[in-house]
């Protein structure tokens, strides 16, 4: 689709905005027009906050989570249990688990999963950092919080292999019938897995 612009500035702004994921040309135009018509300092505020973000954000040196300083708030927190690490793919997964307020351990953000097809090998992920953490000996358990995709499973398998000479306990987040879901609509594989890895029933849980 080609758009005819009456202004070079507008065209550049639309081009720039549409470089963002899930923003097409039309949405970009709408956003740009919105900013033109806005009489407050909105454009400046947005631009400034993005620049500040980009210039200041860093990675936690312990867990590879996004942070403002070299250690993230979770790793700094006194109330967190340091002997349990939940291994996740990316920062969004940390936020999803944090939102539940059910987890008091700390994290390790891999930054992706192993996928030779996409050119992602162990050296492209923060796997060495995780190994170092485990080998320091303070960790009792690693919870594999990776998505149950084919590549996620391969990555878990790989991690368990390279950590097999340590005595860390490796566990896996439960997979099965979704809460609030109906059994008959769950797929065969999920049901089979749920039956295989059933858990003891505790009344009142």
């Amino acid at each position: 689709m080609s758009m005819k612009f009456s202004s070079k500035y507008l065209e550049q702004a639309v081009e720039a905005l549409s470089e963002l994921p899930s923003v097409g040309k039309k949405s970009a135009l709408r956003l740009a027009l919105h900013l033109i018509n806005d009489e407050s300092e909105k454009t400046k505020r947005i631009a400034q906050s993005l620049i500040t973000l980009k210039e200041n954000i860093t990675r936690c040196k312990t867990c590879n989570n996004l942070a403002d300083t070299d250690t993230c708030d979770i790793c700094l927190s006194e109330s967190r249990r340091r002997n349990i690490i939940c291994v996740v793919e990316n920062v969004r997964d940390v936020m999803a688990i944090e939102d539940t307020q059910q987890y008091s351990g700390i994290y390790h953000v891999l930054g992706g999963v192993i996928s030779p097809l996409e050119g992602i090998g162990p050296e492209d992920l923060s796997i060495q950092l995780l190994k170092d953490r485990v080998e320091q000996g303070q960790v009792d358990e690693l919870i594999m919080g990776l998505s149950p995709t084919i590549d996620g499973e391969t990555t878990i398998y790989y991690l368990s292999k390279i950590l097999s000479d340590t005595d860390v306990k490796i566990s896996l987040i439960a997979r099965g019938v979704a809460f609030g879901g109906e059994l008959e609509y769950a797929d065969e594989l999920t049901i089979a897995r749920s039956i295989q890895s059933r858990i003891p029933y505790l009344a009142g849980q």
Binding site: I114, S115, P116, L117, G119, G121, P122, I150, D151, E153, T154, T155, Y157, Y158, K161, I162, D187, E188, L189, A192
Partner: protein
Amino acid sequence: MEEIAIKDTRLYQYRNFDNVKLGFDAKLNVVVGRNGMGKTNLLDSIHYVCIGKSYFSSGDRYIFKDSSPDFSLISKISVGQADSLVKVICKKTTKKSLSINDKVHDRLSDHLGNFPIVVVAPNDTLLLLNTSDERRKLIDRSISQCSPSYLKQIIEYNHLLKQRNSLLKSSKEKGFLNTIVLDSISERMYPLAMDIFERRKSFTAELSKNFEAHYQKFSSANESCSCSYLSQLEEYSLMELFRRDLEKDKVLGRTSSGIHKDDLNFIINDEKLKPFASQGQLKSFIMSLKLAQYECLKTNLGIQPILILDDVFDKLDKYRVEDLLEIVLGDHIGQVFISDTSEERIPGILKNKQQKARIIVVHEGLIQNSYDI
């Protein structure tokens, strides 16, 4: 045994059909018309609603009529006493949606096995080519209709295979192979390969039994025949194969052994059946194989599948046509769809037999006429 029948279907912007709605006979439907009028397209639309994809094209992009942005198929299908409304809506811009009674099926594998179907078509001779793809496709298509989890295993195995190949290839370029990553992929392929092997093996055994029985009926001469499953896993486990071929795989930059090399072997009179076998042998072979597949699906699912015979009557003489009709009209076969270029031949034979049927005359993407005899 439950009967399954397509009651009616509506094709919208599907290949050369603009917007057509038509009803079917519960037993026999004969689509007639000259070449290129849309007979195969009509039969393919039946396969599409049953399986969720085309039998004849490898992708949906070939199905859109001219420059139409979308196509849809809506069919009422009865299984036993219950009617289901199957809707396929495919747009160029979004993912296609497939629903049964307005409940959307997210994955194609959820749809498989509900409406089993067997297709016999001229391109079935591809089964005799040197490459084994078509023969594996025949096995995979059949087993996945019986067990949706099989399809998932195949998809998973193929994905891991691609990862493994890609690792081998990039390692060849880099001159360094991370064997722990390789093992992580290989060891996950292992249980899948075992399962797929077992399922293919038991399916082929069943198929072979039925195939031999049918072939005896078809071939006039007393020919012996058999069909057997060939797999490297018969002798070695996947891990043994991978270990054995590791050096070779490193040089090739791909995986040279595994269940993706499985094959079927067809033997007629102690000789391997070749693509240049006699026409009679070929026709008997394909019909027997497809009817054997039909039989296997029927026993495993407890449903009489739909049978599609596209253009198979073309080069047959009158007697063979009658023989074949006799077989498909039997009680052991459910609803049948046949296409033929002659408007008179099959309807003529059916009238003589006083066999009820729906005749559908297709002309340039339109239903010119549809009548019962």
